[in-house]
C-alpha cells in the first residue's frame, strides 16, 4: 500500500510542474498585463515602463517562469500586484471560505443525495426510483448560475429571508456566516446531490444482489434492518470515495457560485485576478486548487485500493 501511495505521489510531481508551466503560459498569453490593468484610466507611460521593468515583465518568458518557480520552491508565491499582499497570505485568507462552502455543499449533497439513492435502489423500478432519477437528472441539468440568481430573486429580493451576500467568517459571526452560505451551498450541493444519488443507487443495487443480503433476508431480519445495517454499510465505501472526489471538484466548481453570491473565496479570487491580470495570484490560487484536486483524487484512489486490493497493481 505504501508503495502504491508513493508511486502515485511520484507521478503527481510532473503533473504539478506541468500545471504551473501551463497556467503561467496561459496567462502570459492574455492581452494586457497587470501594470496596465492596474493603471486603469491613469496610464502614465513613464510609471508603466518603470513598473514593467521592476516586475521584470520585459524579460524573456522562460526567465520569468524561472523567477517564479525559484521563489515558489522556497515557499514564496509572490505578491499581488494590485494590493501588494503576499499571495500565500491571500490563499490563507481565501481557503477557509471556500472550504466552508465546500463542506456545507457536500453536507447538502449527502443529505439529499444519499437517502434518495438508497430509496431509488430499494424501490428499484417503482415510481420512487423514477422520481429520484428525474430529480437527479434535473439537478444535473440546472445551470448553477441561473439557479443562483433565481434564488437571489426569490429568497433575498422577494421574501427577504436570506442575504444575497455578506459573508462573515465562522469565527466572527457564526449565524451570519451560515446564513450567507446557505443559498450558495444549496446551489452547489444540489448539483452534487444528483451525482451522489446515482452513485449511491448503483452501489446499493450492487450490494443488494450480494449473498449476505439475501442471507440476512432469509434469516427473517426486518427489511429496514437489512438495508440500514447490512446493505448501506457496505455501499458506503464507494459513496465515501465519490464524496472525496466531489470535494476536490467543489474547490474548483465554486467559481461562478462565489461570483454570484459575492463570496470572497478561491473562485472569486481567481476570476477577479484573471480579469485584473494579477499573475501571481492566478498562478498561486490555481496551483493550490489543482493540488487539492490531485490530493482528493489520490485519496479517492487510495480508498478504492483499500476496498479493492486488485487495483493496487494496476497502472
Amino acid at each position: 500500500m505504501t508503495r502504491f501511495i508513493l508511486r502515485r505521489l511520484l507521478i503527481a510531481i510532473p503533473t504539478v510542474i506541468l500545471i504551473s508551466v501551463f497556467v503561467f503560459l496561459l496567462q502570459k498569453l492574455l492581452p494586457g498585463d497587470p501594470v496596465l490593468a492596474l493603471a486603469g484610466e491613469e496610464r502614465d507611460p513613464e510609471t508603466l515602463a518603470f513598473l514593467r521593468e521592476k516586475y521584470r515583465l520585459n524579460d524573456p518568458l522562460p526567465m520569468q517562469y524561472l523567477y517564479w518557480a525559484q521563489a515558489a520552491l522556497q515557499g514564496d508565491l509572490g505578491i499581488s500586484l494590485r494590493t501588494r499582499q503576499p499571495v500565500l497570505e491571500l490563499i490563507g485568507e481565501k481557503l477557509p471560505v471556500t472550504l466552508q462552502l465546500a463542506v456545507m455543499s457536500l453536507t447538502v449533497a449527502v443529505a439529499i443525495g444519499a437517502p434518495m439513492g438508497v430509496l431509488a435502489a430499494v424501490k428499484k423500478g417503482t415510481f420512487w426510483d423514477w422520481i429520484a432519477n428525474a430529480v437527479a437528472l434535473s439537478g444535473l441539468s440546472i445551470p448553477n448560475f441561473w439557479l443562483g440568481i433565481m434564488l437571489i430573486l426569490l429568497v433575498s429580493v422577494n421574501l427577504g429571508w436570506l442575504p444575497a451576500s455578506g459573508y462573515r467568517p465562522l469565527s466572527e459571526d457564526f449565524w451570519q456566516s451560515i446564513r450567507t452560505m446557505l443559498m450558495p451551498a444549496f446551489v452547489l450541493g444540489t448539483g452534487l446531490a444528483a451525482a451522489l444519488m446515482r452513485h449511491t443507487r448503483s452501489a446499493m443495487l450492487g450490494v443488494l444482489r450480494m449473498d449476505y443480503v439475501r442471507t440476512a433476508r432469509a434469516k427473517g431480519l426486518s427489511e429496514r434492518r437489512v438495508i440500514l445495517r447490512h446493505a448501506l454499510r457496505n455501499a458506503l465505501g464507494p459513496v465515501v470515495t465519490v464524496s472525496a472526489l466531489l470535494f476536490g471538484e467543489l474547490l474548483a466548481g465554486a467559481v461562478l457560485t462565489e461570483q454570484i453570491f459575492t463570496i470572497p473565496g478561491f473562485g472569486k479570487a481567481i476570476v477577479d485576478a484573471v480579469f485584473n491580470r494579477d499573475y501571481a495570484v492566478v498562478q498561486g490560487v490555481v496551483l493550490v486548487t489543482a493540488l487539492a484536486f490531485i490530493a482528493m483524487n489520490l485519496l479517492a484512489d487510495v480508498a478504492q485500493a483499500l476496498l479493492n486490493p486488485r487495483l493496487r497493481d494496476a497502472p
Binding site: 486603469g40 484610466e41 502614465d44 442575504p163 451560515i178
Partner: protein
Amino acid sequence: MPRTITAIALLFAACAAGTVAAAQELRIGLQDDADILDPDQSRTFVGRIVYAGLCDKLVDIDPDLTIVPMLATGWEFSDGGTTLTMQLRDGVTFHDGTPFDAAAVVANIDRSKNLPESRRKSELASIESAEATGPLEVTMKLGAPDATLLSQFADRAGMMLSPTATEAMGLDFGLAPVCSGPFKFVERVQQDRIVLEKFPEYWNADAIHLERVVYLPIPDTTVRFANLRAGDLDMLERLAATDLAAAKADPDLTVESAVSLGYQGVTMNVGNGPRADNPLGRSALVRQALSLSIDRGALNQVVFEGAFAPGNQPFPPGSAWYDERFPVPTRDVAQAKALLAEAGHPDGVDIELQTTNNPVQLQVAQVLQAMAAETGIRLNIVSKEFATQLKDQTAGDFEASSIGWSGRTDPDGNIHQFQTCGGGINDSRICIPEVDELLNAARVGEDFAARKAAYDDARDILVKEGSIMYLYHPTWIWALDDAVTGFVPYPDGMIRLEGVRKAG
C-alpha cells in the same frame, strides 16, 4: 418528515433573526474592491472613497467645488503664481501619534514626486521644491504658475501619510495605512471588506458620530441593493439608475444624488497607428455625422431611465466651465447623412466600436449601434475585457472605443491629457497645435474668465475636429437606510463621513 420540516423552519427563523448590525457601525456597499491603500500608488475610484474616511488632505472641496481648508488653514500664491505658501493646522496628529507639521508635508510631497512607483508625479509636476519655512508653514516653488495645483491637493496628491509609517513600511504602506483622517485602519480582507474605526484624537472629532466604518465591495448592483433593503448595509454607492424608482418608492430608504465630474464618451482613433486609417479617423465630417446621429437624451432614457446627464463636452452642463454656445445637440439624421455624403460615403460606413464587456456598457453600445445605423454608420460592436480594451486602446488597435473618465475637480484634468499632442492618455493621438496652446494657457492662468475663454476657444476647434464624442455624465446615486442622516452628496462621488449619524 414533519419533524424535519419543523427543524428547517426553526433554522430559518434563527437565521432570519440573524445579526443586528451594531449601532454606530456604518456598513457601506462599494461597487468594486479597492486596490492598494496607498494614496501615492493607488488608482481605483473606490480606493478614494475609503480614503475619504481614512486620510485627510491639505485642502478639500465643498459641494460647489470651491477649495476649502482641511489640513492647510490658509494659502497664498506669490511671485506671479510661482510660489505657494501654506499655513498648516495646529494640533493634528497621525493615527500612530506622529505629529503633523511642515516637515511631514515636505516628506509627503517628496514621496509623491519621487517614489518611483508613485502615480502622483504628473499631478505635482509643477512643484520644483518644497520647504518647511516654519513649524506650520510650507513654501513651494513652482516651475510655472499652476492653476490646477490646489485641486490636486484636494485629492490623493494632497493626502498626508504618516512619515513614520512611510519610512517603516515603504512600498507596503498600503497593507496598513497610517494617515490623519477621522478613522484609522483596522483590517482589510481582499474582495471582502475594509474596516476602519474612529480615531479619538482627530482634530475635528466633534463632527464624527460613528464608531466604525466597514466598506464592503459588492460588484453586483442587484445584490448590493438587496443587501441594503435587507438591512445588511446602511448605505451603498452607485445604485443602478434602473433601481432608482424602486429605491425612491421604498419608505425605509433615502436617495441622494449628484452629477459627476466625469463623462462617458467614444474615443476615436485619428492618429494612433495604421488603424487610424478608417473613415472615422480620416474625416472630421464622419465624426460629426456620428455625433449628429445620436439622440443623447433618448440614450439616457433608454439605459439610465433619465437619471444621468446627457452631455457633449468634457464638463457637464451646469458646470461653470461648460460652453453654453454649444448645447447638447439634437439628433439630426438628415444632416448626418448629408455630412456622410459630403465626406464621400453616401452608402454609409462600417466602423468597429470596442466597448467594455459589462451589461450596462454593452447596452449603451447597442443603443448607439441602433441609432447610428439609421444614418448609415454601421457600428460593429466588439466587447472586450477592460484590461484588453485598455491595451488595445493604448496600442492604437482600435477604430472607436467607448470609455469613460471619472473626472477631476479642475477642468484641466478632464481635457488636457486627452487633447494635447503627446498627452499622457491621448489615445486617439489627436494633435492640433492651436489647441495645445490654448489648453496650456488655461493651465497657468489664475483668472477664471481668462481660463474659461481659453477652454471655449479650444471648444471651437474641438467641436469640429473632436476625437472624443462625449455622450453623458453619470450621476452618482447613493441609497441610504433612513436611519442614516447627515450625508452630503458631492460631485466627486466621495463619501465624506463628517456629520453622518446613524440612529439606533
